[in-house]
């Protein structure tokens, strides 16, 4: 009669094994935290420019200009930012992707010296000394990188320094997909 009940443990176990097998996907990082902002519009902000850098200031209104762009939080005191910097330089030189920087919790003079020393890959730079915009973005530290689509919505967030693997496997394909999406919409 209740014979099927004896199969119940096996069925439950099979479902669990399926789940675990999915969970072992090597690209899945159990410690990664997704951004709360994904697919949401950013709130309004306007940051002052970094005097002497040659890059104009950054405000919310600059982000919905119909272009896909990258926003990078950095600071001169941040060692991983230094490791990431050459990859941003390459990205700026070799692609047409606008890269905007937000100098986070840093003395403007120190930021400027750092950029003059290492090069300036940023199209626009906003100075966020008091972490006001950092709070809006919900960043947990620097460096952090966001991809913003043509309408000014956050589509991707990366914690920690960018490296060629992330740029080639995640950033570049995503930027291309977002550009196609924007073309189709228009």
């Amino acid at each position: 009669m209740m014979r099927w009940l004896f199969f119940l443990p096996l069925v439950v176990f099979a479902v669990l094994v399926g789940l675990w097998f999915w969970g072992l996907n090597p690209n899945r990082d159990p410690n990664a935290l997704p951004s709360q902002l994904i697919n949401k519009e950013l709130p309004a902000f306007a940051l002052p420019a970094l005097e002497g850098s040659g890059s104009p200031a950054l405000a919310r209104s600059d982000l919905s200009d119909g272009q896909v762009k990258l926003i990078n939080f950095f600071a001169s005191w941040c060692v991983p930012c230094r490791a990431e910097h050459p990859h941003l330089e390459t990205l700026a030189k070799e692609t047409s992707l606008p890269i905007h920087g937000i100098a986070w919790r840093d003395e403007p003079a120190a930021t400027l010296a750092w950029l003059q020393n290492l090069g300036n890959p940023y199209t626009r730079i906003g100075v966020d000394q008091k972490n006001t915009v950092g709070l809006d973005f919900g960043i947990t530290g620097v460096p952090e990188t966001f991809i913003i689509d043509a309408k000014g919505r956050v589509r991707y967030r990366h914690q920690g320094p960018l490296d060629p693997r992330i740029i080639n496997t995640v950033i570049t394909p995503l930027v291309q997909a977002l550009r196609r999406e924007a073309e189709e919409a228009s």
Partner: protein, 676 residues
Amino acid sequence: MFTEIGHFSLILATFIAGLQVVFGFWGAQRRHAGLMRATDQAALVSFALVLLSFAALMHAYIVSDFSLLAVWQNSHQDKPLIYRIAGTWGNHEGSLLLWTLILTLFSACLVLAGGGLPSSLKARVLGVQGSIALGFLSFMVLTSNPFLRQAVLPIDGKGLNPLLQDIGLAMHPPMLYLGYVGFSMAFSFAVAALIEGRVDPAWGRWVRPWTLAAWIFLTAGITLGSWWAYYELGWGGWWFWDPVENVSFMPWLSGTALLHCAIVVEKRDAMKVWTILFAVLTFALSLVGTFIVRSGLLTSVHAFAVDPERGRYILILLALSIGGSLGLFAVRAPIFKPGGLFAPISREGALLINNILLAIAAAIVFYGTLWPLVVEALSGQKITVGGPFYDRTFVPLMAPLVVVMGIGPFMTWKRADAAAVAQRLGLVLGITALIVVAVIFLRRGGAWLPYVGIALAVWLIVAAAVEWWERNGPRNGRWADLWKRIARTPNAAHGMSLAHAGLGVAIIGMVGSTSWSVETITAMAPGETAGLGQHCLRFNGVDVVPGPNYTAQRGDITVLKNCQDDWLALAPEKRSYPVRAMGTTEAAINSRWNGDIYVALGDEQDGKRVVRAYFRAYVPWIWLGGILMVAGGLLSLSDRRLRLGIPRRVSASKPAGPAVEPPNQGLLTGKEAQSS
């Protein structure tokens, strides 16, 4: 050289384990005596080889042979000897080798002690044990070989994670493993029974000592781990519902259920399907524990060696062993017909309720541990399940469990006299009420919920005491007989009373520390005082003290009794280990009967020092409860002596003494030898 011998014996052990599987199953099927004897030999040889291999690895750690990759990654010359030894199992590869060593040890014990077992059952049990060993040995040889050499010889090692350099932690994994792996015996017996299609009281009697031994080790391991977290991590907590803690707790819950339903099989020939299922599930949960800690599947404070490749191998092992046995269960378990019938109000009935509640409790912990993964798979969102979830689900479930635990021992087997039981429980209830009212009066009230918890714990302790007294207390005022009566009661009954009361004691500690603790976190300059409950602390300053492989900042803190007189001197430390560039917190703890004064040193802040001070009410009761449970288990295990047929002076003249059942004598002697 020694290393190569160890490496070679590891590979050889893998092949021998394969032979053990083939000989065991084939021999039992054919009833071929020679093959079954060969299975015994294979199990012994396999244990000897793994032991040799483990000794070789330990030797490499002791002499700091950094040509071994694993030694270089986890050890350092400046480490004290005890931690160099403990370092053998303080990492992924070494801990797997320890796991396998214990597994083969259990098989060897079965060979040496299982002379009374039917030979085909023993061969099948060894066959199942051998296949688990084969799985883990091949896993080690193929993906996590502890004997891998490196070409370039480094000057010194990278050191052991300083958090793990602690005597509590040196002891904790071996204990847990003895528990986890011990449940493999119950599992192997269950699978062998499914193949043979036979579960009878004798089977229950063979399974119980192994299960009990595993349960004792697991209880001790969990208590040690909790104690370690309490004084080493410096957070002042003893349980965090962290995934890694949960995976040790789940087999404990289902192992406890197994322990109790195996009694029903043994005494009443009933609840066979339950017992088989719990035997399989308990070991499955132990394997899941190993799997989760190593695969990086869930994030945790103590997941080490995160590597999906290894995780996949363990998952395949898990799918084969557990999936296979559950499949066998689905096909074969329906043939077991219940033997003894019983009324709902009976010892069996109480044990059944206890089992259902424990199963639900284990399911809740399982759900809470894996739910984040399910949510992520379905919606991509990340969530964590923490204390509040368990407070609302697990904790209320403990209330009926504890109530039934108090009632159960008063019931007789088969059919209990409800009126008589109610009358005796009335006494228990009366004493409990008196004690709880006294406690409320002494503590001068406060929130009512903690008192419910205390009342449950007191109920359990009083019920155990009353039941023990009814069984052992003097009859007709003949106090002279008291000792004789105690000696005549089986040790298993004493063990039960002690273990049940131990849980009550632990619950008092858990409720008290959760509800009545006070804490103060302040930045203090030297000479300043701060309040902590009714007492005060004075911060006198910080010294820098060198240690063997660290430097410590040692705080000097005086506790003032009722904020007036100097009372206790405490010296919490903050250690920094240069090799790993890591620090640890060594809290200073002064234990008293009603709680711990617990002080941890924080960072420096504007010339002041952050001091975290807690009064953790009744925490020592938790450890005492754990010790009592372990003692109860050991006492119960020693009961087996009664059934061995070893000549006893008392029973020689009295044939009406405890039944003498020769078939299991060998098994049980060995069990005792191994547990002592």
